[in-house]
């Protein structure tokens, strides 16, 4: 074998070992950090989803189906979403497990939720980051399945147009989000129902149908929508994780109440 052939062979062998290595590193998911889960909720673990209920088993007839962020373990959302599970009249929350922790690989997974939970009358779909992108895609494909969308540091992708959708959207973003900037969120406003920006919780509109309510959580960041540490590239939050969870769950509760979705089972 001449020198050139030897070089090619060595390079190809090197590539053969390095390519999978770099690919595997890029495919790693964030594990949850230590969680403080209230003992007034029950958690049921299934192959396809995690179900969270108030222990009393009394909850509102509106359930929340949630898509985790890309490459974030779904268990990292149990603690933040447990705040919502026990807020107000209580809520059933279903965290969908995605193949490889990428909602992109099964964007329509939330649409079968009706069959498994006949006691929930209506559903709101929520998603963090990539999960929110794919939640919008799920609603576009199944516009009658969901009453509302909650986007956490997220926005619809360019191929999704929900501007004519007859539902309500709540779009939340942390002030120090280093991964999803406000300009990107603003540039996607035309693909969601009529925008309504609020700066204070007290300014929440009395009717959000069909509107998109935008709110920036003061001091919040991207990673604190879940419980998986600080994501690479994210900004530094000036509020604690628990403060961000409480703020998010109270805003979601307000969103449910204003839309009259908060009623007894």
């Amino acid at each position: 074998m001449d020198k050139f052939g030897l070089k090619i062979t060595l390079m190809s062998r090197l590539f053969f070992f390095l390519f999978p290595f770099s690919f595997f590193l890029a495919a790693c998911s964030y594990l949850p950090e230590e969680q403080a889960i209230p003992d007034v909720i029950s958690i049921y673990e299934y192959r396809d989803y995690i179900e969270i209920n108030p222990t009393s088993n009394r909850y509102s007839k509106t359930g929340l189906v949630f898509y985790p962020g890309g490459l974030v373990d779904p268990h990292a959302y149990i603690e933040p979403l447990s705040y919502l599970a026990i807020a107000g009249k209580g809520h059933k929350v279903v965290i969908v497990k995605m193949p490889g922790n990428l909602a992109l690989l099964d964007a329509n997974r939330g649409a079968w939720i009706y069959d498994d939970f006949p006691d929930v009358r209506q559903w709101v779909i929520a998603g963090h980051s990539l999960g929110g992108v794919m939640a919008c895609s799920t609603v576009e494909k199944n516009p009658d399945y969901f009453e509302g969308i909650i986007l956490m540091a997220s926005y619809p992708q360019s191929s999704t147009d929900l501007s004519g959708w007859n539902g309500s959207v709540l779009s939340l973003r942390g002030q120090f989000d280093g991964l999803v900037d406000s300009l990107t969120v603003a540039s996607c406003e035309t693909r969601l129902p009529v925008p309504c920006h609020i700066n204070r919780r007290e300014d929440f509109p009395t009717d959000t149908f069909p509107k998109t309510v935008y709110f920036t959580i003061p001091g919040g960041n991207h990673s604190q929508f879940g419980n998986y540490g600080t994501q690479q590239g994210d900004g530094v939050a000036t509020i604690s994780r628990q403060e961000q969870y409480a703020e998010v769950s109270s805003l979601i509760l307000k969103f449910l109440i204003i839309n009259k979705w908060e009623y007894d089972k």
Partner: protein, 168 residues
């Protein structure tokens, strides 16, 4: 060199290796399942892409060294596998063989990788399409676990892998 040419060369490297090499196969598998973490519930655990090298030990037996990238419901994972296959029936174009192997690898998590391991056994049906190349299908049983994930959620799967592939 334009970046497009560079990308093409980079993309073709693995195939170049496969073409130079002998006794390699590439297969795509899905993992239908009936049981996880002690619960009976039919469903699908995920799928995987397996690259295997299988030098002959004798006329009927082959040693298997494999690498797998798998996508499950809560993780991506990679395995290095060691095992063997033995030909049960052989015809002009078709071969039926049985195989078994042990898997060792990682659940791909950060900040740390979690050990994952398992075992599998399968029946493989090959249809020869050239002097050395063949297409094959396989079906089997497989048990995998990721003990470090036990405190979070589903950490044990038993599935019935079904796959198709090509041998060069």
């Amino acid at each position: 060199m334009t970046s497009r040419k560079l990308c093409l060369i980079v993309a073709l490297f693995p195939f170049a290796i496969l073409l130079q090499a002998q006794d390699f196969d590439l297969s795509l598998r899905v993992y239908p399942s009936t049981w996880y973490n002690g619960y009976f519930e039919p469903g699908t655990d995920g799928g995987g892409l397996v690259l295997a090298w299988h030098p002959k030990l004798d006329d009927r037996t082959r040693f298997i060294v494999s690498g797998e990238f798998g996508v499950l419901k809560t993780r991506n994972e990679c395995y290095a596998g060691l095992g063997f296959t033995r030909i049960i029936l052989a015809g002009n174009h078709i071969t039926l063989s049985g195989g078994a192997g042990l898997l060792n690898g990682f659940g791909l998590y950060r900040p740390k990788l979690l050990y994952a391991g398992g075992a599998e056994a399968y029946m493989r049906f090959d249809y020869r399409i050239g002097k050395k190349a063949s297409l094959f299908a396989l079906i089997g049983a497989r048990y995998t676990l990721c003990p470090g994930y036990r405190k979070y959620g589903v950490w044990r799967y038993s599935s019935w892998p079904v796959g198709i592939g090509m041998e060069l």
